[in-house]
Point group: C2
Chain length 148, copies 2
């Protein structure tokens, strides 16, 4: 698959997300969980499998939305920091995103690199991660006033 | 802009739509209105302008969704049959879509070519257009049971 095609598809359908969780056994008690996903209707699974091969890592999961009466979906996901740093980041640095999602990607990458280097265990690093995540969320919102 | 990037973006965000309208002055009283659109949040207008230049035709419109509390959006649109045949179709035939939207595109193209050749004024042509449009709609639906 042409890597520029993949970049275009990600600008349309990809999502960069970071959650911060509590973790009993970690030093600071906090864990940074990054996640890159692309979700499509299940009958488009083939395109995700080919994107997975083109990027070189990740996995595909089923996502059921019976409660909404929607068709089943499938989700391509990379959440492992090593995979993000080794496969996804070099890929997107070579075939850059073109829409405002490129700014979300930039912040996502900074967060992952900070977390990989254990900077989230310092006050400065943790505050920076929270600040970047707020900015990421503002850029991704459809609505001004409330979550959809 | 890399044309494969544009194809990937269209697979994610593009929409092919055909409406059939009544038209007082036409022979059969029916008009086939095809429309290709890409809609994004207004702060991503730049990417649509670059796609517009890359494809070589079309126009960009503002779309307000104040009633939903959403951010303003912008829409790139090609609805002229000549522009579709001269610019969009050769573009997408050279840089093909990869997701199931490629099947929607195929039907959309057949409808536009039929309409361009005035085949919608014959019973056979008109029935074929209606049949293709039903198939296009089924592929585009998120929900099994109702429109969203």
């Amino acid at each position: 698959m042409d890597p520029h095609y993949v970049a275009g598809f990600i600008d349309g359908e990809g999502a960069f997300c970071v959650s911060i969780g509590k973790h009993k056994t970690l030093k600071r008690g906090l864990e940074v969980r990054p996640e890159f996903t692309i979700e499509v209707r299940a009958d488009d699974r083939d395109v995700l499998e080919r994107i997975c091969v083109t990027i070189g890592c990740g996995a595909i999961y089923d996502a059921a939305y019976d409660r909404y009466g929607w068709y089943p979906h499938v989700k391509y996901k990379i959440s492992n920091k090593y995979d993000l740093c080794t496969y996804l980041f070099p890929f997107l640095d070579a075939c850059p995103l073109q829409a405002k999602k490129k700014d979300v990607y930039k912040m996502f990458k900074e967060i992952v690199l900070l977390a990989r280097d254990k900077k989230h265990l310092t006050d400065a690093g943790f505050n920076r991660i929270v600040e970047l995540r707020e900015k990421m969320r503002a850029l991704g919102k459809k609505a001004r006033t409330h979550k959809l």
